[in-house]
């Protein structure tokens, strides 16, 4: 749940990047951290293992400017993607306002995407949230790999696998090159802010 401070006129919005292991959640945040450095006052926090895998979460706060006189503070989190870390994934989802599901477009990851999305559904239920109601954007990451000869699933297949029932905004992206990373962020922020406004009215 977003927290609204009426005294200082600040709204804190929590957006979580969710997805299977090595799909590029941290890479998304790292790109945002580099690209929007001017708007970000603090350092990105990463809790990771020696092998550079996310252990708990990455955290990146930034200011989005004002809406109706309220400062909007966006807090971006990632979850650890590895299967064994579901307990921590669940902790990070507490109080979430919007989710970006990062799918791995590589052919061999097809099943992992579906499993991860199903688990997101279950984890949200534990907080009495619904994957069908929460602001959600799906990103098909790593589309650049097809230029390097790596088998990549066509977007139509990914869409059928992951978004045929949800019908949420989705887009192709390449977190490593930055393609559509900002577009994904923009989509989830606007969806989340609209949903918070609706809840308040």
């Amino acid at each position: 749940m977003s927290f609204i401070n009426l005294k200082d006129k600040v709204v804190q919005v929590k957006i979580v990047y969710y997805g299977p292991g090595r799909c590029g959640k941290t890479t998304n945040l790292e790109y945002i951290n580099r690209k929007f450095r001017d708007q970000i006052q603090s350092e990105m926090v990463s809790l990771k293992t020696h092998g550079d895998r996310t252990l708990f979460f990455d955290f990146l706060p930034f200011d989005m400017g004002q809406i109706k006189g309220y400062d909007i503070k966006i807090q971006l989190y990632t979850v650890p993607g590895q299967v064994k870390y579901n307990a921590t994934r669940k902790l990070v989802l507490k109080g979430v306002d919007g989710v970006v599901f990062v799918a791995d477009a590589m052919e061999k990851q097809r099943e992992k995407n579906i499993r991860s999305l199903n688990q997101l559904h279950e984890n949200l239920q534990a907080y009495k949230e619904s994957i069908f109601k929460i602001p959600l954007v799906i990103q098909y990451n790593k589309v650049d790999l097809k230029d390097h000869g790596v088998p990549v699933l066509p977007t139509a297949v990914l869409r059928k696998d992951l978004n045929s029932r949800l019908k949420v905004p989705d887009l192709e992206a390449s977190a490593i090159t930055g393609y559509n990373v900002a577009a994904t962020l923009k989509k989830i922020i606007s969806a989340t802010v609209v949903s918070i406004q609706k809840k308040l009215l």
């Binding site: 749940m1 809790l47 989190y77």
Partner: protein
Amino acid sequence: MNYGIVSQEQLEQIDTILADKLIKLGVDCVIIIDMAGNIITAKDNGESKYDVYSFAALAAGNFATVDAMAKLVGEAEFSLLFHKGQESNIHFSKIDDELLLISMFGKDISLGFLRLNVVEAIDQIKTVWDTSSS
């Protein structure tokens, strides 16, 4: 429980309690956060410059982790959470199921004295909070 919005009046009351009970004592910085990592309010002595937003995210994670460990060993919770450093220390205390009070303080304050004041501050904050939810 609807804790998403706190009125200006309540925040001012809470800020006064924090200033009276903890900042006056010599605590560098006090933050109240919720378990999702949002900052409810932050108060400091005017000198310390902490990145309170990152701090809140990490503290919520830390507390949740310790809570999960408590459950593993069959405890309902570990009520005292305290990190000691050379120059500064951090003390965590649960206000209720959703809120945490975090105090950062130097080596001039004794832990016992701080804990006494934290307990009093929490009692007072609870009164402010309860009037809001009823």
